[in-house]
């Protein structure tokens, strides 16, 4: 059965190549510590499953220290000067390798579930989408290598160029997920939920809706994830007050409550993969540039969600 471990080996090998190439890259002013960061990432992917939990935790902390003390640098990766001519030559054929990953992900997700070989599922049924994405990436990279007559060395060098521009932000979403687990063990969510019910006014149908939608957005901003906020806020306010005391409709409460949480996601650096990683990928000078661009939409939409819920939830 093909599971996530295949992808982990691929990612581990890629980061190992990045680490070796970084050590050898004299144009990177911090080549040794940068290489250490990528080597730790590679280690986590390649052997993380066999290491004790505390060692995995140590790897994360070590990577955080390298990044936190500003020990990561970038190499110099000159781009070909004839890019416009190359673009002209390839024309729209350039889009073909770019479209392979989403198309393969889609087809794989639709068809691979339930495919069995000798009574065993071909791919882990719980991970079909990610494995399809991985297959699409491998196929597309192969097609690109053949099409451009490029060597795998060029491909990894180009990958490293982009990875270096993302830098430590590339680890942040995974690190935040780990922090979420510590929050859960320490019952941070329950404490915040208790605070919300103690201090927020909940005496009228309108106040309950306002407390719930704002609470979802705020709590999501703190946790970085509406999925963590939803059970806590809904158990504290949504179910007992909006549905229980004032007779609101649970489907409307749940749907619009979750979407209020999504407004919070747009405002917080804790949702790193949506807000911080793209700022790094797009090489914005302001780390919070994407959040600033989203903030007006998020606030107006949160207000709209509150109005929508108040108008709809007690009516159906």
């Amino acid at each position: 059965m093909i599971g996530l471990d295949v992808l982990y080996v691929l990612a581990g090998l890629l980061f190992a190549v990045f680490a070796v190439a970084t050590v050898l890259d004299r144009t990177n002013p911090k080549r040794f510590t940068s290489a250490l960061f990528w080597a730790l990432f590679a280690t986590s992917f390649l052997v993380g499953s066999y290491l004790p939990d505390v060692v995995n935790g140590g790897i994360l902390v070590a990577m955080a220290l390298v990044a936190g003390f500003n020990l990561m640098g970038k190499g110099d990766h000159p781009q070909p000067v004839d890019k416009p001519q190359r673009a002209e030559r390839w024309g729209n054929r350039l889009f073909i390798p770019a479209l392979i990953p989403p198309v393969v992900t889609l087809l794989g997700t639709l068809t691979l579930k339930g495919v069995e070989i000798g009574g065993q599922p071909l791919v882990d049924p719980k991970q079909v989408t990610l494995i399809s994405l991985g297959a699409g990436i491998v196929l597309a990279t192969t097609v690109a290598l053949v099409m451009f007559r490029a060597s795998p060395v060029t491909a990894t060098r180009e990958g490293r160029r982009l990875m270096e521009s993302v830098g430590w932000a590339g680890l942040l979403p995974q690190a935040l997920a780990a922090l979420g687990a510590v929050f859960a063990v320490a019952h941070v969510g329950d404490v915040i939920g208790d605070l919300a019910t103690t201090w927020l006014p909940l005496g009228t149908p309108l106040a309950a809706v306002v407390a719930y939608t704002l609470g979802m957005a705020l709590f999501t901003a703190i946790m970085g994830n509406a999925f963590a906020a939803f059970p806590v806020m809904t158990a504290a306010i949504g179910l007992p007050i909006i549905v229980g005391r004032f007779g609101g409709d649970p489907a409307i409460m749940g749907a619009i409550g979750m979407l209020s949480g999504f407004c919070g996601t747009l405002t917080t650096p804790m949702a790193a993969n949506f807000n911080i990683v793209p700022a790094a990928l797009l090489e914005l000078s302001d780390r919070y540039g994407v959040i600033k661009a989203q903030l007006p939409t998020a606030l107006m939409l949160l207000l709209a969600n509150t109005v929508l819920m108040y108008v709809l939830v007690y009516r159906f």
Binding site: T129, L133, A169, V185, A251, Q294, L301
Partner: protein, 222 residues
């Protein structure tokens, strides 16, 4: 109450623009200790979750492909396509992308899009090119603003489209949570009530994108 110290570390750390990875590691240790764990146990919880969430970082496997395509001129090609359309503006282009992203997510195609696959190689360069064609050379802050709006549009399209699809994780979470509390709702009912917000999101963000065009016009005097 003491466990909220970890949250305080996060809030203060981000506000002070400290390195986010360092904030995460510090907040984790502070929360663990405040919650009654020792350092080793905290590292254990952190490390286990770190290992279990490796799938999140698998997306970087796509970077060699994107890098190769950029080397052969993918951004330039995307720009050339848009530069030919006289009616194209950064705002209008992003409105169309917003609509496509929302509609695709609404039928479950959430993987059509994303910052590494779509925004950096295609959407952001197209939006920049459209603005350049219309307003001439752009300053770096204006470029950054356009790129940030492109990323914002991808997020907003995804968030406020995906809940219309009945088999998306958030809908299943809502259904599961309500069911645990003895309330049975159909996923279809949940996804139906995601539609009003989706429409409002399109109107609000679409209007802001069209406003962006006017701001670009004012900034350049053209």
């Amino acid at each position: 109450m003491w466990v909220l110290l970890g949250v305080a570390v996060v809030v203060v750390g981000f506000a002070a623009r400290l390195n986010p990875l360092l904030i995460v590691a510090t907040a984790a240790v502070v929360t663990g200790i405040a919650g009654g764990l020792d350092v080793v146990a905290t590292l254990g919880v952190l490390g286990k979750a770190f290992r279990d969430n490796r799938y999140i970082s698998v997306v970087w496997l796509i970077l060699p492909l994107i890098g190769l395509l950029e080397r052969e001129g993918l951004q330039e090609r995307a720009k050339a396509l848009i530069g030919r359309l006289r009616e194209a503006t950064a705002g209008r282009l992003l409105v169309i992308y917003l609509l496509i992203r929302q509609l695709a997510a609404a039928v479950g195609l959430t993987s059509l899009g994303g910052h590494a696959q779509m925004v950096r190689p295609l959407i952001a360069p197209m939006a920049e090119a459209a603005a350049e064609t219309r307003h001439g050379d752009l300053s770096q802050p204006v470029r950054d603003r356009i790129k940030a709006m492109a990323a914002a549009t991808d997020n907003i399209g995804l968030f406020f489209g995906e809940d219309i699809f009945i088999a998306i994780a958030s809908i299943l979470l809502i259904k599961g949570f309500l069911e645990e509390n003895g309330i049975i709702v159909e996923p279809l009912a949940l996804s139906m009530w995601a539609i009003p917000t989706a429409i409002v999101a399109f109107v609000i963000h679409g209007a802001r994108l069209l406003l962006l065009d006017r701001q670009l016009g004012k900034a350049s005097g053209r």
